[in-house]
């Protein structure tokens, strides 16, 4: 019963944080827009419900768009969950997504294989590259004690410029007006999940499968246990005989592989050539999602849905009203701050704890009286 109350508290707290963030967003909408109520309508219900001539209807295409937008962020969210669980603030997800997408695209263009196998090989290559990239901040941290945060941030830029170099000077399709590679082989593309030209690919199913795999890994294997224990108390883990260094490296490499897979699945599922020219931003969204999911892989899809929904809402607001879509960053930042705030509504939690304890004491007292009789 105690746990139930605390769970209820966590839910209330999360909801309050989100509402506060939306309130902050609303204030900005009112400050910047001439038609704030229309803008709000687009933000809050626009993504799923389209209103035509006073009639509201469920927007199936919009629903698919949201699900499609979740594909890369589920992967990066999972990656951040695993990496942050060992208390490592590794922020190289951005760079890894870009590089993973790029190498998968190259494998899709220059390797020749059966359909089915080809896409899997492309994704595996991206996973390996992602893992290798994450070795850099992980090993520097474990072996030399260099801050993984700073090295990973720098690594993002290094990845970006190296990919841009190869994209522009080595693998570019010169016959096209914009910078892009040649198209992938048909065999490497990830097919669409629903008919009708939607961007929702089988990658969505793969993402959900990985949610289960990562959840099992984190909560049902000893490596996952070790990663979580090290995150909670590194010294304790060390003195109880865990291989702390190796486990930290493992968690970062797994995170890198997941982010690499995310980039490759997104590129092969959404596009027909590689055309990213900057960091795609999924790495940072992954951090927000992991925070919302409290590092629990099973909650990642939910958090990803929420962010994708908000993102879509902001885009609609920018298209149909006079509010720039970058609004999403302000709302995300506010969610971030309140959601991660341990002391947010702490007074309320204190009351619950006191209430619970009183109830328990009363029970014990009643039990003692019963025993005395």
């Amino acid at each position: 019963m105690k746990d139930k109350r605390m769970l209820g508290f966590e839910l209330v707290r999360g909801a309050a944080a989100i509402l506060l963030a939306l309130a902050v967003g609303t204030i900005f909408i009112f400050l910047s827009s001439d038609e704030p109520f229309t803008a709000l309508r687009y933000l809050l219900i626009g993504p799923l419900i389209s209103i035509k001539g006073g009639l509201a209807s469920f927007n199936t295409q919009g629903f698919y768009t949201i699900l499609a937008a979740m594909i890369p962020t589920i992967f990066t969210g999972l990656a951040v969950c695993v990496m942050f669980s060992s208390n490592q603030f590794n922020l190289a997800g951005e760079g890894v997504v870009l590089t993973g997408g790029f190498v998968a695209a190259l494998a899709g263009i220059y390797l020749h294989m059966n359909s089915g196998l080809h896409a899997v090989v492309c994704i595996l290559i991206a996973a390996v590259i992602g893992g290798i990239i994450m070795l850099v901040p992980a090993l520097l941290k474990v072996k030399l004690g260099a801050s993984e945060m700073v090295t990973s941030l720098m690594l993002n830029y290094v990845c970006m410029y190296i990919v841009l170099h190869y994209l522009n000077f080595v693998f570019a399709d010169r016959s096209k007006g914009s910078t892009q590679t040649f198209p992938f082989a048909e065999t490497a593309r990830i097919g669409s999940l629903v008919p009708g030209g939607s961007k929702l690919s089988w990658g969505f199913v793969a993402a959900l499968v990985f949610v289960v795999i990562v959840a099992l890994f984190m909560y049902r294997t000893r490596w996952g246990y070790a990663i979580r224990m090290i995150g909670i108390n590194e010294s304790f883990s060390k003195y109880s005989g865990m291989k702390v260094g190796g486990t930290i490296v493992l968690s970062q490499v797994i995170g890198g592989m997941l982010a690499g897979i995310g980039g490759s699945v997104e590129v092969l599922g959404r596009y027909s050539t590689f055309l990213w020219k900057e960091l795609p931003g999924y790495g940072w969204t992954g951090v927000t999602i992991a925070i919302l999911a409290k590092n629990n892989p099973l909650l990642v899809p939910l958090a990803a849905f929420f962010i994708a929904y908000l993102n879509k809402g902001c885009q609609l607001m920018a298209t149909y009203c006079d509010v720039p879509s970058e609004m999403i960053d302000i709302i995300q930042a506010a969610i971030f701050l309140f959601f991660a705030a341990e002391q947010f509504l702490a007074g309320y939690r204190q009351k619950i704890v006191v209430k619970n304890t009183r109830a328990d004491l009363a029970k014990v007292a009643a039990g003692a009286e019963g025993g005395a009789e």
């Binding site: 400050l31 720098m154 410029y161 960053d329 991660a340």
Partner: protein, 318 residues
């Protein structure tokens, strides 16, 4: 190619640009130094620079005074740092996450704010005019020395201020009671608190100083360096500043030298990318690669030192 490069590097103009490029990194690096001395990792420097750079332009445009712009940027920097402090110290948000949130606001929020205030998208374009840029000064006497004069004189006021702050920061940290308290809180907050130092207050002060310095850095970027604000302007300088702080062993003077190293790398990047047959993209990655290498060398040397100290310690025991 190499002699072409050498001939450009060995000019006074190149060293002048190194100093110019170093200044904003140095401001932020000093911000990182004072925060970390108080035991706070301010990863939000990047976002603070972005936002205060924007407000620097806006304030100077509204008042047509560069000084108001710079001061406004500084105050915005302080407010943002205090907001981080409120969430991190009062509501116990992890300080790194609070910093990431500020960076998010810096990345997208600035574009939103710019649109909200001016209706412009992505950059401030026509808002900046030469009369509200941070003015440059020629230093009497020094400007007449042949080569040195060309390198050291004629910089923006804020450039000199950045290097002056290195000295002021050292004074603050090592010659004032406040500095002593900041260092005490960073070394051992419990011990500091037990002798009556208000840990919270000191951390807030250190964060505010850090925000003010990043605010100067932002103003420098938009009101002198790129002569206007645009969305990709800060480009990781706040993060590089964190690396400069780490490489400079957390000391003001050390941070200055590592900032100069990054300034050199950036300046090289602009020079090299102008040469024939060089990939501008690979060259662009130089400052970031240098940062990682710098961190590695620093970390490796620290470990060596610790090992040596331990070996001597055990020898002394025996």
């Amino acid at each position: 190619m190499w002699d072409q490069l050498l001939s450009t590097i060995l000019k006074e103009e190149f060293l002048f640009s190194v100093i110019r490029i170093t200044a904003p990194i140095l401001f932020a690096a000093l911000g990182a130094v004072v925060a970390s001395k108080a035991g706070v990792t301010n990863i939000g420097l990047e976002g603070i620079m972005m936002i205060s750079a924007l407000f620097g332009v806006l304030f100077s445009y509204w008042t047509q005074s560069w000084l108001v712009g710079v001061l406004g940027a500084m105050i915005v920097g302080i407010l943002l740092a205090l907001m981080m402090g409120f969430f991190a110290l009062k509501l116990k948000t992890d300080i790194i996450l609070a910093g990431i949130a500020v960076n998010m606001m810096g990345a997208g929020g600035t574009i939103f704010l710019l649109y909200m205030f001016t209706g412009m998208r992505g950059n401030t374009g026509s808002l900046m005019s030469p009369n509200i840029l941070i003015p440059t000064v020629n230093i009497p006497l020094i400007k007449d020395i042949p080569i040195l004069g060309d390198i050291l004189s004629g910089h923006a006021i804020l450039t000199y201020l950045a290097f002056l702050f290195v000295w002021l920061m050292w004074i603050l940290l090592y010659r004032t009671p406040l500095g002593l308290n900041i260092r005490a809180v960073g070394e051992n907050a419990n011990a500091a608190s037990s002798v009556g130092v208000s840990v919270l207050k000191i951390k807030y002060i250190a964060l505010a100083l850090s925000g003010a310095l990043a605010g100067f850095g932002g103003a420098f970027m938009s009101m002198y360096y790129s002569q206007g604000w645009n969305s990709g302007m800060v480009a990781g300088r706040g993060f590089i500043a964190l690396a400069a702080q780490a490489m400079g062993r957390g000391e003001p003077v050390g941070a200055m030298f590592s900032s100069l190293l990054f300034g050199l790398a950036q300046a090289l990047r602009t020079k090299v990318s102008g040469l024939q047959g060089v990939s501008s993209y690979l060259v662009s990655s130089i400052p970031y690669v240098v940062t990682i290498l710098g961190l590695v060398i620093y970390a490796a040397s620290t470990i060596k030192r610790v090992k040596k100290a331990r070996a001597e310690h055990s020898k002394a025991k025996a």
